[in-house]
């Protein structure tokens, strides 16, 4: 129960040339915690609203448990939704807010009381049941909104940026609670956020979207380690992945990534994957995460050390790590180092990459070469 299938779903708004959701094709398994993530306007909320039945589907089919539900009204879909601004009914008490969905579904009165109290206990809002929403804090409102969804015991939970109105500390705490709640209830959850940290920590699978198009669907670890394209690589991870344009060249039978400042031999494994064809000799973008940049105070001896001389621009402390911002010509590179390191602004330094951790993307299409070959 609670599996969902999007079959080539489109959403076009009148008077707009580009579809808001472009060929969304995905199956969501029962009990999965799926996160839709992307910048604002990428169609993630529209997708969720189509799933909720609040937005018409322009073309394509939507199935829930194998049942075609394109034209099923929201109340008959067995879903519950948590809104960004909670959408609590201001004229009703907390109890009535949670109970309304049950009441409208003709649940027996004693049953309503039992369920509301049980939910209130889980969410620790039992003492608030008599209050009106205007007398609650943001975090409490959030819990009531969650309670309203849980009390209905639906097949699928939909959450539209439910944490974005909370302050940072409360957000981290509620995030952890949501994860626990989901694993306890084992209900399919579709969660929309623009925050990649939320996406990475909560989702069992993440859908990255941009301009209405799915960029990649993968579990968090895979998304981080094997981004499908430049957009995903840049969107996931903070600070951002470093991007360095260049070309793949062949010299003496070895493949190199090269631009005016650097010439780096590609690891054998990657070379094998790219194949020996000349098709691989083209303009690419090299991507490397800050934690895979090696720093050295001075340029090591030897021409093929793989290090490039640079100037330290600034150092950013986050407590556990510090990030050093380097500039080599017009190439900017961010490197993670331990906070004890002594790099100071304006000083000379050198950086190199852990070559087995680099990513290569086609310059024009942005697609990962690893994926292209596969």
């Amino acid at each position: 129960m609670g599996s969902i299938t999007f079959n080539h779903v489109f959403k076009r708004y009148k008077g707009e040339a580009r579809p808001a959701v472009d060929d969304f094709h995905l199956s969501i398994e029962e009990g999965e915690f799926l996160v839709l993530v992307g910048p604002s306007g990428c169609g993630k909320s529209t997708t969720l609203r189509m799933l909720a039945g609040l937005e018409e589907i322009s073309s394509g089919e939507l199935y829930m448990d194998g049942k075609f539900i394109n034209y099923v009204s929201p109340k008959d879909r067995d879903i519950a939704m948590v809104f960004q601004n909670y959408a609590l009914y201001p004229n009703l008490s907390v109890f009535e807010n949670i109970a309304l969905g049950l009441k409208l579904r003709k649940t027996a009165k004693h049953e309503i009381g039992l369920r509301v109290n049980r939910v209130a206990k889980i969410l620790e809002i039992s003492h608030l049941l008599e209050r009106k929403p205007s007398q609650l804090s943001g975090g409490q409102k959030q819990r009531v909104a969650l309670g309203r969804a849980i009390a209905r015991e639906p097949q699928v939970f939909l959450m539209d940026e439910p944490l974005s109105n909370l302050d940072a500390k409360l957000r981290a705490q509620t995030r952890a609670e949501l994860i626990k709640l989901q694993s306890d209830l084992k209900r399919t959850t579709v969660y929309v956020t623009h925050d990649q940290v939320e996406a990475m920590t909560m989702g069992t699978r993440i859908v990255v979207m941009k301009d209405g198009v799915i960029q990649q669907v993968a579990p968090p670890r895979k998304l981080y380690d094997e981004p499908a394209n430049l957009f995903v690589a840049g969107f996931i991870g903070s600070p951002q992945m470093n991007f360095i344009p260049g070309r793949i060249q062949r010299e003496d039978g070895t493949l190199y990534f090269a631009n005016r400042r650097m010439k780096l031999p590609l690891p054998v494994e990657m070379e094998r994957r790219l194949g020996g064809t000349d098709r691989s000799l083209r303009s690419v973008v090299l991507g490397v995460r800050p934690e895979h940049v090696r720093l050295s105070a001075a340029l090591p001896e030897g021409e093929d050390s793989g290090y490039t001389a640079a100037v330290v621009q600034m150092k950013e402390e986050t407590g556990a790590d510090s990030y050093v911002y380097l500039l080599a010509g017009d190439t900017r590179v961010i490197a993670r180092t331990d906070p004890e390191s002594a790099y100071q602004p304006e000083e000379q330094a050198a950086f190199g990459f852990q070559m087995d951790k680099i990513h290569l993307f086609d310059e024009s299409s942005g697609v990962s070469l690893r994926r292209e070959q596969a």
Binding site: A52, G53, L54, S73, P74, K75, I79, A80, M81, F83, Q84, N85, A87, Y89, P90, N91, L100, G101, L104, R105, K132, P133, S134, R148, R152
Partner: protein
Amino acid sequence: MIARLRRIRSASPFQAVLIGGFTALAAFMSLPIIFIFSHAFKPQNELFLFPPRFFVQHPTLRNFESLFLHASNATVPFTRYLFNSIVVLSLTLASVIIVSTMAAYVLAKYRFHFKALILSMITLSLMFAPETVSIPRYLIVSGIGLNNTYFGHVLPSLASPVAVFMLVGFVSQIPNDLIEAAKIDGAGHVGIFARIVLPLSAPAIATISILTFQTVWGDVETSTLFMQKEAMRTLAFYVNSLLSGLQNNVAGQNMAAAAGLLIFIPNLIIFLLFQRKVLESMVHSGIK
């Protein structure tokens, strides 16, 4: 109360001037109201005192007595007019609220063809003075045979463009998320309207209630034009005709004074009642 007094004590000179100024202004504005009360209890001789006195010297209930006696001598008793007024008022208030809120909900929250046209027609109808549409109104009311019925009183004020206009503005401020949440919770159109839209529009409904009450309570047009039977006419009509008949009648001035108070009091009560409601609902609405 004590806390409030203490606050006044700790006011700055500027605030003191403001408090003093506004209190004086409020006192001045309430003079006519005080005068109506005081006037209604004046005995005949005080009514014609020159120079006139503002406050009553020897209060008496004679004026009310003669008003009711005069009325009970007529073919239709005073109480019948009062009853008519109350029936008409309740019917009109209820139907105006139902019709306007429903219309406003649909106009504010649904998308449909010709919506802009309908809205602009409602705006346009705001511009007509009631007198200009008296004749078509008469034709319609008599055409569907509503002469001498309570619905003849109600129908002309049923579609209130002012009320719809105000409510559209108000309902459109109710967040769409609330309506969508109710949809997902399982509410249909009627459920959303009754459980969400209606309670949240309470301040606006209070306001249109005050407006409608004042119009209907003081309205003589429906009684004059559509009611040929005296027994179907309202209190406002009765008082109005009484006053105009008494204009140059010295003996009738006491009745006029009493009638003036009687017709005014419900206005005051309704206003005080709903005004509190307006403020209350605004404070507790919790909509940002």
